[in-house]
C-alpha cells in the first residue's frame, strides 16, 4: 500500500533521513521506533508531503506521491496525526471533526452565502461526525471549544477527525505522548478497532514500546537517520543492535 524506496532528506546539508526503504501492506499496523533525533518524525513529514524529499521515491497505492503537496496526498487517502495535538483550538469539537471532509460544496465562496446549496450536505456531515465522536465517547462534547478538552481527548480527536476524510491509511506521530496509561490503552484500542472495522492501515511512531508492541504486526527501527532493523515485535527485542541503541553497549 505504502512503499518507500531509498528516501533521503537533507536539511542545510545535514542528512536527517538517509536511504530509507520500507513498505506497509493493506490492513497492517506497523510501528516505527528509535531514539530521539533518529529521523522518525522527519520521515513522517516527508511521506505526508510537508517536507519535499531530497532523493528517493514514495508510492501510495500505485500513485507516485513524491512530488505531491500535503492536501493532494490527503485526498488520495493517506492521512496523518500529529505529535503535539494539533487541533483548531478556536473552533468547536464538531467543526474540527467536519473540517477534513472532502469536496464540501459549502467550501466554495460562491455557494457559501446561500444555505440551500449546502444545508443538506452539512447535515449529513454532522451526522457522520457525531457517529465518529460517539466512537471515541465524545458525542456530547460536540459544541465545546477544542481548547477546553483534556490532553487525552485532544489526542483522540486528532486521530478521529481524519476519519472524516475516509483515509485508507493513517500516519501517526506518538499518538499517546503525554497521556496517562489507561487512556493510552484506549487510544490504541481505538486504532485496533479502526483496522478491524474500516480496514484502515497504520504507520505509527511511538515511544511507549510496551503498549505499541501489543498492537503492531511489524516494527521498523531507525537510528541516526537510517533504518537499523525491521522485524516482528518479539524478534526485534532480541536484536543486538536495537538493544545497543536503546541501552548503550
Amino acid at each position: 500500500m505504502l512503499e518507500l524506496s531509498k528516501v533521503s532528506k537533507d536539511f542545510d546539508g545535514l542528512r536527517a533521513v538517509s536511504n530509507v526503504s520500507l513498505s506497509v501492506k493493506q490492513g497492517e499496523i506497523v510501528g516505527l521506533i528509535g531514539p530521539n533525533g533518529s529521523g522518525k518524525s522527519t520521515l513522517l513529514n516527508v511521506i505526508s508531503g510537508r517536507f519535499p524529499v531530497t532523493a528517493g521515491r514514495i508510492t501510495f497505492q500505485e500513485h507516485d506521491i513524491t512530488p505531491l503537496s500535503p492536501d493532494r496526498i490527503f485526498h488520495l487517502g493517506l492521512g496523518r496525526g500529529f505529535q503535539d495535538p494539533s487541533l483548531f483550538y478556536q473552533m468547536t469539537v464538531l467543526d474540527n471533526t467536519i473540517l477534513p471532509a472532502k469536496a464540501q460544496k459549502g467550501e466554495n465562496p460562491l455557494f457559501a452565502p446561500f444555505k440551500r446549496f449546502w444545508r443538506q450536505e452539512e447535515h449529513q456531515l454532522a451526522e457522520r461526525a457525531y457517529e465518529i465522536l460517539t466512537q471515541i465517547d465524545m458525542g456530547r462534547l460536540f459544541g465545546q471549544l477544542a481548547s477546553e478538552l483534556s490532553g487525552g481527548q485532544m489526542k483522540l480527536l486528532d486521530i478521529a477527525r481524519s476519519q472524516m476524510g475516509n483515509p485508507q491509511m493513517l500516519l501517526l506521530d506518538e499518538p499517546t505522548a503525554g497521556v496517562a496509561p489507561p487512556l493510552a490503552q484506549s487510544i490504541f484500542e481505538h486504532i485496533a478497532n479502526l483496522r478491524q472495522n474500516e480496514n484502515m492501515t497504520f504507520l505509527i511512531i511511538e515511544h511507549r514500546l510496551d503498549m505499541l508492541f501489543n498492537f503492531v504486526d511489524r516494527v521498523y527501527v531507525m537510528h541516526m537517520g537510517e533504518l537499523l532493523a525491521h522485524d516482528t515485535p518479539d524478534e526485534i527485542l532480541e536484536n543486538a543492535e536495537v538493544r545497543e541503541v536503546y541501552f548503550g553497549d
Partner: protein, 350 residues
C-alpha cells in the same frame, strides 16, 4: 459659523458606508482568514483609477460624443463634456458607473489573486505586508508619472456621482442610499460567509495553515480566493470613494489610508463584521469631528492644524486597542455552523 447638520450627517454616513466596505474587506482577509493586507490603499486606488479612466474615456463613447483628451489644453472642455453628460443623460451616467464598478472589481480581484500566489515564494511571513505596501506605492508612482491614465499628478476632477442629475441634496441622499445598500450587501455576504463551511475553512487556515493543508485543504487556492473577494470589495469602495469626492488624485491613496482601515478593523473587532461596521462608523464620526473642531478652532483664532491631530489620535487609538483590548470593541463571537443546529436539535430531541 453655522453647521449644516443635515449635510454633515449625509457626509458622515456616506463616508461610513464607503469605509465600511474597506473595513469589511480587510476583516475578511485579516480578521477571518489571517492574511495581513497592508496594501489596502493599492486595491482601493485601483477602483479610483479605473473610475478616472472610464469617466474620461468610456463615458463620452457611451453618450455618443467625441472623445476629448482629458489633460492639458483641452482640460476644461473635457470637464465640461463630463458634467454635461452626467447632468443630462442619467442613463448613460448609470451605465458608465455600473461598468466602472464591474471593471474595477475584476481588475482588482485579479491583481489580489495574483499577489497571493506571488507571495507563496516569500521567505518570512511579514514580507507579504511589505510587498503589498510597496506594491501600492509602485502603482501610485506609475499612475502619477504616466499622463494618459489620470493626467499624472494633476488627477481627474468632475467625476460626479450618477445621481448628480437630481441636483442638490436629493442627489447626495440618493447616492448615500446606494452606498449604504452596497455596504449592506457586502456586510450580509461576509456574515453569511463566516457562518458557512467556507468560514470554517478560513478560520482553520488562520489558526494553522500547515495542519489545514495536511487535512486536505488547498490553502494557497483558498487564500487566493479570499484576496480576490477582499480586493473586489476594496475596489468597489474605491470607485465610490472617488465618485463621492468628485475627483481622482494619487495623493489620496497612500499608506495612511491603509492604516485608517486597520484602525477601523482593530478598533471594531477582528473577525467580526459588525465590528468592521462599528469601527468604520467611529472613524467616520471622529474624522468629521476633528474637521469641525479644526474649523471652530481656526475661527476662534487657534492655529492648530487638526489634520495632524487626527493622525496622532488614530495612531494612539490603534496602539491602545492592540495593547489593552486586542479583540476589539466587539470581539469575534463563537460562531456555530449549521451542523451544530442540526445536532443540538437531535440531542435535545432524544
Amino acid at each position: 459659523m453655522n453647521i449644516d447638520y443635515v449635510a454633515t450627517t449625509i457626509a458622515v454616513l456616506t463616508f461610513f458606508g464607503i469605509w465600511s466596505l474597506m473595513a469589511i474587506s480587510l476583516n475578511i482577509e485579516y480578521g477571518v482568514a489571517g492574511i495581513p493586507n497592508f496594501g489596502k490603499a493599492l486595491f482601493v486606488s485601483i477602483g479610483a483609477y479605473t473610475t478616472g479612466v472610464t469617466y474620461t474615456r468610456l463615458l463620452p463613447i457611451l453618450a455618443g460624443r467625441d472623445f476629448i483628451h482629458p489633460c492639458g489644453s483641452t482640460l476644461a472642455d473635457a470637464i465640461q463634456l463630463r458634467s454635461d453628460i452626467i447632468r443630462t443623460m442619467p442613463v448613460v451616467a448609470f451605465v458608465n458607473f455600473g461598468i466602472t464598478l464591474v471593471i474595477a472589481a475584476v481588475i482588482s480581484g485579479i491583481i489580489g489573486f495574483a499577489f497571493s500566489y506571488l507571495v507563496l515564494r516569500l521567505k518570512e511571513e511579514w514580507f507579504l505586508a511589505l510587498v503589498l505596501l510597496v506594491g501600492g506605492e509602485i502603482v501610485r508612482i506609475f499612475v502619477r508619472g504616466y499622463q494618459p491614465l489620470i493626467c499624472a499628478n494633476n488627477g481627474i476632477s468632475a467625476v460626479s456621482q450618477p445621481f448628480a442629475f437630481m441636483g442638490g441634496r436629493s442627489a447626495s441622499i440618493a447616492f448615500l442610499m446606494l452606498v449604504l445598500l452596497i455596504a449592506f450587501i457586502a456586510y450580509v455576504y461576509s456574515e453569511r460567509l463566516i457562518r458557512s463551511p467556507y468560514g470554517r475553512l478560513l478560520k482553520a487556515i488562520r489558526e494553522n495553515e500547515d495542519i489545514a493543508r495536511t487535512l486536505g485543504k488547498d490553502v494557497a487556492k483558498t487564500k487566493a480566493q479570499v484576496m480576490f473577494i477582499g480586493s473586489m470589495i476594496a475596489a468597489i469602495s474605491g470607485v465610490l470613494f472617488a465618485v463621492n469626492l468628485g475627483f481622482v488624485n494619487t495623493n489620496d491613496y497612500v499608506v495612511t489610508l491603509t492604516l485608517d482601515v486597520w484602525v477601523m478593523v482593530v478598533l471594531g473587532g477582528l473577525g467580526n463584521p459588525k465590528g468592521a461596521l462599528l469601527g468604520a462608523f467611529v472613524i467616520a464620526v471622529l474624522d468629521r469631528l476633528t474637521a469641525i473642531a479644526a474649523i471652530q478652532m481656526n475661527m476662534a483664532g487657534f492655529n492648530l492644524e487638526f489634520n495632524f491631530v487626527r493622525f496622532i489620535l488614530f495612531a494612539v487609538i490603534l496602539l491602545l486597542m492592540m495593547r489593552y483590548r486586542p479583540q476589539g470593541i466587539l470581539p469575534e463571537p463563537n460562531y456555530t455552523t449549521e451542523a451544530h443546529d442540526n445536532l443540538t436539535a437531535r440531542t435535545t430531541g432524544d
